[in-house]
Symmetry: C2
Subunit: 173 residues, 2 copies
DNA sequence: GCGGAATAGTCAAGCCCTCAACTACGCTGG
DNA sequence: CCAGCGTAGTTGAGGGCTTGACTATTCCGC
């Protein structure tokens, strides 16, 4: 509580760059609770999945998206969007999954620039093996901890934030 | 919605490894809204801070923790815990902040094994410059979007999850 | 149909993080 | 008082991610 940089002029309520709209103590607690819990939960789930199934959560996400698609294939760009991933990152990740034999690339017939990522049978089996581990983690660390009201609020908050973030242009990806 | 791996035996409610407790459609939506919103928000704040202040959010976190401490210094381990960071990661990060002249290391007198990370005046100035940018991002992308009730619920959910995660032993860090 | 702009995807360099040693110091029991 | 163990922190190797440049293809206007 000593020498906080925002302890200067707390009584302001001006706009943006002029006078920062500092967070009060309650807001800080809310923000930290949200940030820390989301970081720790994501980290925990990723570690458990990596340890017990040998699949990092990011890779798991890719497999899930492909498995839910007709033909179990998808354009690289769309896959990147759905996985909240940059194209470069997805390209690297798919290369590594290709080495594991879980995905193969296929040129897109309707667009010569495009590539399709296709989930292989081996990839589907790997996903089937990993899914119970992941879902158990989400149950244990999330749904088992929250009341139905909290779950509803969590969804509501998440969707509210997503609407804003989707509508606001990020510098780039 | 095609060929989902968890479409097999939905009617079970047995325990853990035996029969997975799959998520129903509502739970999936809640989970994805929470996961995606927290990932996107963290990413957005990190990018804005990096772009406009030249400080990644992880480094900012370190500076904040030190600035709030009497003497603006802290043991490496405690700093790592507060930043939700591994010791190795913090050690690397402090080395890089040392190169920027924002932190210096100092041996701990009461424990010859220990090191203190000390925030320099330059580091404090860098934090002062970055803080308004960060707080404006948190306002814009979080608090401006949510009602007071949503903020209260967010904090409640976050604290509930943190209690569980802190109480549950993670394999290791 | 042709030239320029936009789009799809990949690649390389550099940074950051993780994992697993490793050093150094402190603590405790015999 | 020292052997062994636990703790604090660092380091290096290896791999993932980001940025920005690059190639290939398609779209669009004239």
């Amino acid at each position: 509580m000593t020498s906080q940089v925002w302890a200067s002029s707390q009584e302001e309520s001006a706009q943006s760059a002029a006078q920062p709209r500092w967070l009060d103590a309650e807001e800080q607690k809310a923000w930290r609770a949200w940030l820390n819990s989301s970081m720790l939960l994501a980290d925990r789930l990723d570690r458990e999945l990596t340890r017990e199934a040998g699949i990092p959560h990011g890779y798991y996400e890719i497999l899930v998206q492909l498995s839910e698609t007709p033909g179990r294939m998808m354009r690289m760009s769309e896959l990147a969007d759905r996985c909240l991933s940059s194209r470069s990152r997805l390209s690297h990740a798919v290369s590594r999954l290709e080495e594991r034999g879980w995905i193969r690339r296929q040129v897109c017939e309707s667009d010569g620039r495009g590539q399709l990522a296709v989930l292989t049978d081996d990839g589907f089996e790997a996903l089937e093996a990993a899914a119970p581990i992941h879902v158990e983690g989400v149950r244990t660390h999330l749904f088992d901890q929250l009341s139905p009201e909290q779950v509803a609020a969590m969804r509501d908050i998440g969707e509210t934030l997503l609407r804003h973030l989707d509508a606001t242009p990020a510098p780039q990806h």
